[in-house]
């Protein structure tokens, strides 16, 4: 099979993976809160329902920007799996995330705008990590593509323990989980109402959800890069980490954006930066 087929497979299957993950999330969260929770496939039902509902258009650019957000998320996955340079992929990933910020920011409403600005801070906080991680993976394996890293005899996580540690923190941010969910809020009556999705409804909200599924699948693919023994191991590690995220999500409260930015940068600098520095100094 040519690498492009893996890319196409990602584009087709990632939403299934991401949707199931959200279903799993909702069940586990419900159990933690003493509820039974919805069926596993509930996110897909919700998705279908959102698509049928009427969308309130606040301005003509929101919908295309959200479509761009979904498309570039899918493209990031396609590029990653079809063998494009890992570091380049990290930049496209950031671009994809930016489209959501622009969609929310263009609404020009207080809640959406604040959510958009905070999402931008989330990007600022998390982006250095992804670049460092990809640089670290390339440095360790000497490879520059997904398939190359999987085929490498070097075990990435062993040489990048600091990066693995920082990943846990940054994943929390990317999955918009508490205490780092400053840009959204899944509960009513909070400071941001619903953050950057406040003025999105119907199919617009469905696009956001779909992009989030892609994003989750991408994070899983990143974990596979770190645990490159096999794809299965990587996915299992991701699921374990995700369960941990759910626990953290349900047991912490949201922190201020200043702390999000500072703590993430410090963690990235200390753990990932220190790790990469050590790699270079040891001449790997």
């Amino acid at each position: 099979m040519t690498p492009a087929i893996y890319g196409i497979l990602f584009v087709l299957l990632a939403p299934v993976f991401g949707g199931l993950l959200v279903g799993f999330d909702r069940i586990v969260s419900a159990r933690m809160q003493g509820r039974i929770g919805p069926p596993l496939l509930q996110p897909f039902y919700d998705f279908g329902k959102l698509l049928q509902k009427q969308a309130r258009q606040v301005n003509p650019v929101v919908e295309p920007l959200l479509l761009g957000h979904v498309a570039f998320m899918a493209v990031t996955g396609f590029l990653l799996l079809s063998g494009t340079d890992l570091i380049f992929t990290a930049f496209v990933f950031a671009l994809a995330a930016l489209f959501l910020v622009l969609a929310a920011g263009s609404v020009n409403s207080p809640y959406s705008f604040a959510g958009a600005e905070r999402e931008l801070i989330v990007l600022l906080a998390s982006e250095p990590f992804f670049i460092l991680m990809m640089a670290g993976v390339c440095k360790v394996t000497g490879e520059s593509s997904f398939a190359g890293v999987l085929a490498s005899s070097k075990l990435v996580a062993v040489e990048l323990p600091g990066v693995v540690l920082a990943f846990l923190m940054v994943a929390t941010i990317k999955l918009r989980k508490s205490p780092f969910d400053i840009s959204t809020s899944h509960h009513p009556h909070q400071e941001l109402v619903s953050g950057l999705t406040t003025d999105m409804s119907g199919r617009l909200l469905a696009y956001v959800e779909l992009a989030h599924w892609y994003e989750s699948a991408l994070l899983a693919a990143f974990v596979v890069l770190l645990f490159n023994w096999s794809i299965a191991l990587g996915v299992v590690v991701f699921l374990v980490a995700y369960a941990l995220e759910i626990l953290v999500d349900n047991s912490t409260s949201r922190i201020k954006w200043q702390l999000v930015l500072r703590s993430t940068w410090v963690a990235t600098l200390l753990f990932s930066g220190g790790n990469v520095l050590a790699l270079f100094l040891l001449g790997r």
């Binding site: 301005n59 263009s106 809640y111 990469v276």
Partner: protein, 641 residues
């Protein structure tokens, strides 16, 4: 071809002299338009006749030797600086200019200057070719744009005495100086052109002659004269040691001993001119000049002369401590100005910091000096010149229509100035979303830094990781403002119709250029930038030459997405529902019930990270840090070697 190059230097000088005498716009406009067209054609012709060689050397037509012309030019420049300095009671600049002249006279009088090879005065290779096209096309487009801009500028500020004849004259002299600089091979001759650009930028920055701009103009003059002194000292050392003053010979391979010291001084000159820290403040001050001046200084002239010289010197410093220290000045500047930029609200200043940061990346590339990084450096020069010229001109247009440079006042721009917004989006997409402004260049730089041995490589990658994220943040903020929409009145819509056709013409041309060059990246890499890197470093750049089709498609899509979206959205009737305000809408959408009764208009303000990043402090820290590295660089070159 040699006569074409001579023409490119002489013709703008003549036009500059003519324009000085023309005070009527009806006469000036056709002259500027026609001579710009001539310069564009001549620069394309010069490149077209270049052929496929790696570089050619030639002298003046008919074998004329420069003789005392170089010294005479230096005396003229110095005299001008001394007179203007004394008239304004500023003594540092005249003193430096006199020292500079003293060095030249001393070398000449004591017979230390080596014999000039009249057949190697000029050096035209692929790097000169790129520069000639940038100066010849982008530079002249800015001149044409200024025809419209300056008319509105003086209408809006009647207090400023119009001296547009001087302004346009200076623009053309500036172009002549730049043409001369990028084709010079004989260092003393290059220094003359170097000082011409210094002088022109000084006079352009101080154009309005207010106390404020005069201060900034002298700041720019002092810093660039200091760099010029470094250049002069390098020539003195080389002449005194009977070494070559031939740039091509000097940079044919790694320099050592005394030669490395001279090269370090030349690097110092390049760093001042490209406004790297600790010399960034002169370019920030230049922001107070009319926007075409900013566009010219930032895109096709002045700062590009600095990085041009550094790229020329790159093969001589590669692998040396001097080279690494030069790289750290550049990368340090990139990181610190990016930190400052996220806290800045003045759009022109944000653009300025972004320029300094991009130049920092080029300086970083030149300092390390691998074929791959030379490739990256030239690519950034090309795309930055296009996108930044466009952005400065667009911001100038917006400024003349909305009377603001504040990013916060740019909101709902897409509704108010739809066509201008589309152009702005092309510029921003070219700068940071897609190709070479930042993404591919950063990517390629990180790839190359992975191979830098030892801790330096890791620090460089760390700087890239954090610096890139910061650029994403400030461009993101600007994009949010431009992309937002609202209902506009008939009056607001009529504002856009007052943009002059000169501005539409030039800005549209630059926008087409940004998109066209993105699509043509493959051929440009294969035929121009790749062979340049091969010739300069005697090794072909690896990995980067094969840009995959998938990457190219993504880049093009990314560049086109936002402008096309804006174009489409601006043509649709704006008939949409109000946004959510917790049921506290009062009156219209932008008025909300206040917490303690009454109502307040909604204002939305970007985050400037107050309390987390202190911009002024970062600027100082960066200045001190980079000054330290810079001093270490010169000392290493001069003493330690």
């Amino acid at each position: 071809m040699s006569s074409l190059i001579a023409f490119l230097i002489a013709f703008p000088l003549v036009i500059g002299a003519v324009l000085l005498l023309v005070t009527r716009a009806s006469v000036r406009n056709p002259i500027v338009l026609a001579s710009s067209a001539v310069i564009i054609v001549a620069s394309i012709a010069a490149v077209a006749t270049f052929g496929n060689g790696d570089g050619v050397f030639f002298g003046l037509p008919n074998g004329i030797t420069p003789g005392y012309a170089i010294l005479a030019s230096e005396i003229a420049i110095t005299a001008l600086i001394v007179v203007i300095g004394l008239m304004n009671r500023r003594f540092l600049a005249p003193a430096m200019a006199l020292i500079q002249l003293g060095i030249a006279v001393f070398l000449e009088a004591t017979g230390r200057m080596p014999e000039v090879d009249a057949q190697r005065l000029f050096w035209f290779d692929r790097l000169s070719m790129v520069m000639v096209l940038i100066i010849g096309i982008i530079g002249t487009l800015i001149c044409v744009n200024a025809l419209g801009y300056m008319r509105d500028y003086h209408r809006a500020s009647p207090m400023i005495r119009g001296r547009r004849n001087v302004f346009f004259s200076l623009l053309f002299v500036f172009l002549a100086g730049m043409f001369g600089l990028v084709v010079s091979n004989y260092l003393p001759m290059m220094l003359v052109f170097w000082e011409i650009t210094t002088l022109c930028s000084f006079l352009l920055i101080g154009y309005t002659r207010t106390t404020e701009t005069i201060g900034y103009a002298f700041k720019a003059l002092n810093m660039n004269l200091l760099g010029g002194l470094g250049f002069g000292a390098a020539i003195a050392i080389l002449a005194d040691q009977h070494m070559t003053l031939d740039l091509a010979k000097l940079t044919s391979g790694p320099a050592s001993g005394v030669m490395l010291g001279a090269v370090a001084l030349l690097c110092f000159a390049g760093i001042t001119k490209s406004a790297q820290m600790p010399f960034s403040s002169w370019l920030i001050g230049a922001m107070y000049a009319p926007s075409p001046t900013s566009a010219l200084l930032h895109s096709s002239t002045m700062v590009k002369a600095g990085v041009f010289l550094l790229l020329r010197l790159s093969p001589a410093i590669t692998g040396s401590t001097v080279g690494y220290l030069v790289a750290f000045v550049g990368l340090g500047t990139f990181l610190f100005v990016s930190l400052v930029a996220v806290t800045e609200q003045n759009t022109k200043k944000v653009l300025a910091y972004s320029t300094i940061g991009s130049l920092g990346l080029i300086v970083g590339c030149a300092g390390i000096g691998t074929p791959e990084l030379a490739w990256v450096g030239v690519m950034i020069i090309i795309f930055h010149a296009l996108a930044k010229a466009l952005l400065f001109l667009v911001v100038g247009t917006i400024e003349n229509r909305l009377y603001t440079k504040d990013m916060e006042n740019f909101d709902t721009l897409l509704s108010r100035l739809p066509r201008v917004s589309v152009l702005a989006l092309v510029g921003m997409a070219g700068m940071f979303i897609a190709p070479f402004g930042i993404v591919v260049a950063k990517w390629a730089a990180i790839r190359a830094f992975l191979n830098v041995p030892g801790g330096q490589g890791a620090v460089m990658i760390l700087i890239m990781a954090f610096g890139s994220s910061l650029t994403l943040f400030y461009w993101g903020k600007l994009l949010i403002k431009v992309l937002s929409m609202k209902n506009v009145s008939e009056y607001e819509l009529s504002i856009q119709r007052r943009v002059s056709r000169y501005e539409w013409l030039t800005e549209s041309a630059l926008a087409v250029g940004v998109i066209g060059f993105t699509a043509l990246i493959g051929p440009i890499s294969d035929r121009v930038v790749g062979p340049y890197a091969l010739a300069a470093f005697h090794a072909a750049p690896q990995t980067l030459l094969n840009i995959e089709p998938a990457m190219l498609v993504v880049m093009l899509a990314a560049v086109l997405f936002l402008p096309l979206l804006a174009l489409w959205a601006s043509r649709r009737p704006y008939d949409t529902s109000d946004f959510y305000t917790s049921g506290r809408n009062a009156d219209s959408a932008h008025v909300m019930g206040a917490a303690l009764g009454g109502s307040r208009t909604v204002t939305l303000r970007n985050y400037y990270l107050e309390g987390v990043i202190n911009g002024a402090l970062m600027f100082r820290v960066g200045t001190v840090t980079c000054a330290g590295v810079l001093i270490a660089m010169v000392v290493t070159g001069m003493v330690v070697r």
